[in-house]
Amino acid sequence: MVVRSYNEELKYLEKINSHCWRIKKGFQPNMNVEGLFYVNDTLEKLMLEELRNSCRPGMTGGFLPGVKQIANVASLPGIVGHSIGLPDVHSGYGFAIGNMAAFDMSDPKSIVSPGGVGFDINCGVRLLRTNLSEKDVLPIKEQLAQSLFDHIPVGVGSKGIIPMNARDLEEALEMGMDWSLREGYVWAEDKEHCEEYGRMLNADPSKVSLRAKKRGLPQLGTLGAGNHYAEIQVVDEIFDKYAASKMGLERTGQVVVMIHSGSRGFGHQVATDALVEMEKAMKRDKIEVNDRQLACARINSVEGQNYLKAMAAAANFAWVNRSSMTFLTRQAFAKQFKMAPDDLDMHVIYDVSHNIAKIEEHVVDGKVKTLLVHRKGSTRAFPPHHPLIPVDYQLTGQPVLIGGSMGTCSYVLTGTQQGMTETFGTTCHGAGRALSRSKSRRNIDYKDVLNKLESMGISIRVASPKLVMEEAPESYKNVTDVVDTCHAAGISKKTVKLRPIAVIKG
């Protein structure tokens, strides 16, 4: 790797406009395209600070800074457009989290990389609305939080309460949300309001290792640990009245439920298995990459296809998982309010995936191309009239659900035409880490975190309290900075701001 001083590195970075920077070729070796990243003044400082730290003598090992990772991705074979960093970008395995990259399917050298999807395959956010108001919920907030906690098992090693055997799992992996629908865990309208209609059609459970299935089976219908959560939230501010009303969000104070979860140990195992397999494929096909973590395989190779099929199965797992939790959430609410979920109008507003690779059609240099779009820690945000978004959102653009860090706020955005042309219809996914997990554990006391949430009037149920400081708001970038940057840059549009009143966490 090239060793340069911070000031030399800066020569490769150019601020194009108030919210966007360009990473020029040469910043990292063999870049096929340029990089782009979106920041505002605050996030810009964090971003450059990270780069400056990594330039200090003796700084080796650990994760590369986000900008370097974006540039490394730009050097992968078959990449088109730009390697793009969203405002919540931070270091991850190979690809930065908050990085999107698209590869030309018609180029035989193009690759697929598990690092570009992430370990928690199809981690995503689902938002349920209700017709309740904050004042309906406040008197029984504690009971409701407890009821949710009882229904949705959380934490490392948690096990779900929906009985499933190995055959059920095989079917669920192949059918995704159609399985939940068939078994009666979700409503027909839920499928309509889910990215990909809750099912990747190329899923092939036979390409998934037995080990992954063993890990996954007992975990279906569990939230998991880490940054995953279920939150009862209220509408805090409406920026776009028309789009909000299309989503059934009519007034401030309206209660919604946000579920942020993924494919649990199943997806993790699928990714791990693929990385091992791909290392061999790289040697065979002589694929050179800047970083060993960018293990990849040609899309059309056996390894590439195996991964895509297994990844699709893991994506289906995640949708079934979020669907099961939707079912459990509806039960918890129905019990507390002694009303049917229908009468509480508990519809799914939308379900987004923010760790996934998908085959999509985009316009590149004036031509329609079929691309494999990797979105890691970034969310699809298609504009109005796009054929792949639900009919109810044809005029508003796809809803984009942005989960904030624990105890802060969350946002609903909509996709824009500008985002479609600039970022392949992609926007941010959340707050994005500012401190590493270990650093958070050292610097913050978990009791302070819990007390602070309590003082804000947020009920909290956690399986492992000693881990909450990893997820404390202080460990994250400010989600409002992130969302405002996306809005100002025009790659998505602010619609609604949500504020939590109860949190369930691993």
């Binding site: 906690f149 009882d150 098992p153 959380v154 934490g155 490392v156 090693g157 948690s158 096990k159 779900g160 309460i161 929906i162 009985p163 629908l181 068939r182 078994e183 009666g184 865990y185 027909a188 309208e189 499928k191 309509e192 640990a225 079912f327 459990l328 039960q331 316009v363 004036g366 031509k367 329609v368 009239h385 639900p390 009919v391 109810d392 044809q394 005029l395 399986a463 492992s464 691993g506």
Partner: protein, 223 residues
Amino acid sequence: MYRLKLTALGHPNPKSFNCEDVKEYRSVVLWLEDQKIRHYKIEDRDGLRNIDSDNWQNAYDLYQKDLVSPVADGTPTEQLNWLLSYAVRLEFADNVTKYKAVIIEEPKKVTPNVVSSNPLDNLNFSSPAFVNGVERVCALSGIGPHPDPKFRIAALAKVLKTSPHPDYPNTEVSIIKQPKDVLELIFIQNLRDLQTSINEALVAVQTVTADPRTDTKLGKVGR
């Protein structure tokens, strides 16, 4: 069902016309030939004039052959439809200058009519309006010249299918945008109906297959 065409041609009672009735059908054919088409000399129209005669059908067949009707072998309704359209065309050709003056109102009048039938059937591909329209769209999208406007439209369809839609200049915005918006809204409405029927089908299947269960004994909260 031929009310608008009959009205346009000035038929005395277009509203009550019933094309299923043999007698009425025959008299309308005769009326068309007498008043509008005038293909035969008056004395040669006798075959058609005997509307009660069994030989009328033979005369009608011959008449159609003489007119080179493309639907001579079609059903009686198709045959009459063609005759009516032919008569309209003749009427128009006789008074081109008169009808050209009212061209702005024409689309409004015609639109409700074409909803029930295939609008393309009534399109006159050689009309100056069509040729001009094709000329304009092709200029916008960079399609080269060709004497046959249908050929150019086919080329345009190919281009639009394979590449993104061309930008149109600002002067054209309202002309293109309004119908585009209307089409989009109709499309969304149709899509919503389709999605609703899909949902209904799914719910119907669910009544047979659904059996959601939970077993709280299985639950385990993590460390």
